[in-house]
């Protein structure tokens, strides 16, 4: 297998199961060579991988490096590796920043919001995909509209206010829960790949719709639901503006607002700021390591359908 040039884009996309066999040819190769099985490591590919890791990991490592410096150290040498690591920054940041409650709030909002959102997506997407609900043609349009609704910050605020839910965790969770975005569209696409005979078989056996959803559809749709959940969760996790407007009590702030306010207050003390950022980032990375398996499998399943 030859490659024209060394750009990654020109590399073959081999599907799973085959060994990687292509070698990095000299850039001047032109004519395709006959396929041969050669057991040489694809150096070029590995170099690219290392570069990739550098681009994505170095910034985080730099953050860690800065977090371990005192302010004086940082001013003296912002870039170099820290010589006298100190954990005091972390202690200070934790004490001054209420990060414990920020992280907890973010988790509650994300899990709650994405959870409710996913449930809504399923409850709304399944009947539409199967055609069990009247008005079959307009619902997909409605779902598409969900994707690009206008920025309704102002009116969402007024709505929550009139419902008496301003500055309440419940109000915020409800507001982010409906940010389902592309979920329903994705879900309806997936459901179409489930054979309708399954529904009918379950119904013949006397299974009600509700039970069917929970016992049969849910496990089958798990990959798609996982993807939808994760997409919405990521959005909620990153959400900063709604939180600024809809929440007033500092105790209820999610990380985004809390960290940003911290930056506003201590913007010059990079060591402290970096430590605060690390406090927020580390649980994310750790949690991510655990769920990333589900993520890839989930998306694989969803898109295959």
């Amino acid at each position: 297998m030859t490659m024209t040039g060394s750009s990654r884009r020109a590399q073959t996309s081999r599907t799973d199961g085959e060994d990687g066999l292509a070698a990095l040819p000299p850039p001047s190769s032109a004519a395709p060579r006959p396929r041969r099985r050669r057991r040489r490591a694809p150096v070029g590919a590995y170099i690219c991988l290392v570069l990739l890791a550098a681009v994505f990991l170095l910034p985080l490592l730099f953050l860690l490096n800065t977090a371990l410096k005192s302010d004086a150290d940082f001013l003296a040498d912002p870039v170099g590796i820290v010589t006298e690591p100190r954990l005091q920054n972390f202690v200070d940041a934790w004490v001054q920043g209420h990060f414990g409650s920020y992280i907890l709030n973010s988790i509650v909002y994300t899990l709650g919001g994405a959870g409710i959102g996913t449930v809504i997506t399923m409850l709304v997407g399944f009947p539409v995909a199967r055609g069990y609900i009247a008005g079959g043609r307009i619902w997909p349009i409605v779902f598409a509209l969900l994707l690009f609704l206008p920025n309704s910050l102002i009116t969402q605020f007024q709505l929550l206010l009139r419902l008496g839910l301003y500055d309440s965790r419940l109000g915020y969770v409800l507001m982010v829960a409906v940010g389902v975005g592309v979920g329903p569209l994705l879900f309806t696409g997936f459901v179409k790949s489930l054979p309708i005979e399954l529904d009918e078989a379950a119904a013949i056996d006397g299974c009600g719709y509700g039970r069917y959803l929970v016992s049969f559809a849910l496990p089958l749709c798990r990959p798609a639901l996982t993807t939808i959940f994760i997409l919405q969760a990521v959005w909620i996790w990153n959400e900063i503006i709604l939180a600024t407007v809809l929440l007033a009590d500092q105790e209820k702030f999610p990380i985004t607002v809390g960290l940003f306010a911290f930056k506003g207050a201590y913007s010059n003390q990079w060591g402290l700021l970096a430590a605060a950022t690390m406090i927020v980032a580390v649980p994310l990375v750790v949690g991510y390591i655990f769920i990333q398996r589900y993520l890839v499998n989930g998306v694989l399943g969803a898109v295959k359908g």
């Binding site: 890791a53 994505f56 069990y132 960290l259």
Partner: protein, 313 residues
């Protein structure tokens, strides 16, 4: 074309379950939530755009008709609006192209059975998990003009830069960070699409003597088309609405990175310390509505174009 037939509206089938009540109730509840919390505010924003709502108690709100829209298109504002529009379009187009390009390349790389590729897959997705504030802070640190690593690198080659303060490159830097943060999701979606391509097709093509590039262009790329559509659409819409990252990196007062969504936020709630411009939230709602129309048009156009390419391929 078969593709189009597949995407036809769902046909109402016979409901196999004994009672309809359950499906109506659950669907109704779900839809109610969406209507109440998402659609009603959205429609209300359009309504508000015809008023001079100020978001203050005691200050009455008056109906002003299309005055807000006229204000938006007034020559005095033209420079600001074109600026925001241009920034938004540049951000959306360049950002999406770069994001797709890198995501495609990276997913091709990660699709190969290389060692430790699960680790690398995880690494690429991590910035998305970190979130805007963390990502924004990390890159603010790196692009610190007072001696951050980037500045030191530039010093080493003899130049220097004000980074986000330099109006020529500020937007470019924001796009870079945006791509860094978003490429993970696109990679995952592309990977899924790639793995759905049967291996036999690749083998057949190479037996026929196709070069790697030809194989990519004629086998891989066309079969990736649905993933590409989904990705591009999500990317464009996301980029057009995105302002959190810009807000964290460059602040609300930076003209060279001001995008439409940021304009809406700044006009509605203020944010320029030191100015005494005080717009009404009605005006902000008008901008939001205009942006909605713009995004809708562009998204539909993109969708239409991509679907046609898909079908042709």
């Amino acid at each position: 074309m078969t593709a189009r037939a597949e995407r036809a509206a769902p046909v109402r089938t016979r409901f196999p379950f004994p009672r309809r009540g359950a499906v109506r109730l659950t669907f109704g509840l779900g839809m109610l939530m969406l209507v109440l919390f998402a659609f009603v505010p959205a429609v209300a924003v359009i309504v508000v755009s015809f008023t001079d709502l100020r978001g203050l108690t005691y200050v009455p709100t008056l109906w002003v008709g299309i005055e807000n829209y006229l204000d938006f298109f007034s020559p005095a504002r033209a420079a600001d609006n074109w600026n925001a529009l241009r920034n938004t379009m540049v951000f959306a187009i360049v950002g999406t192209v770069l994001q797709m390009g890198f995501a495609l390349a990276i997913s091709l790389l990660l699709n190969r059975p290389l060692r430790g590729r699960n680790f690398f897959r995880a690494v690429v997705f991590m910035p998305t998990i970190l979130g805007v504030t963390v990502g924004g802070l990390i890159w603010s640190l790196i692009f610190n003009p007072a001696g951050g690593p980037m500045q030191s690198l530039l010093h080493a080659v003899g130049t220097q830069s004000a980074f986000f303060g330099d109006p020529r490159i500020a937007l470019g830097l924001v796009i870079f960070v945006h791509v860094w943060m978003q490429v993970g999701i696109s990679v995952v979606i592309f990977l899924a699409g790639l793995q759905a391509i049967p291996a036999e097709l690749q083998e057949v093509a190479s037996i026929d003597g196709a070069s790697a590039w030809q194989r990519f262009r004629n086998v891989t790329f066309p079969l990736l088309a649905p993933s590409l559509t989904a990705n591009v659409l999500m990317g464009v819409v996301n980029a057009m609405h995105s302002y959190q990252l810009t807000y964290v990196l460059a602040g609300p007062s930076n003209r060279s990175t001001q995008v439409l969504s940021l304009l809406v936020y700044v006009q509605a709630f203020g944010g320029e310390s030191g100015t005494s411009l005080s717009q009404s939230q009605g005006y902000a709602a008008a901008i939001a509505t205009l942006q909605f129309v713009l995004v809708g048009v562009i998204a539909l156009a993109t969708l239409f174009y991509l679907r046609r390419r898909e079908a042709r391929l």
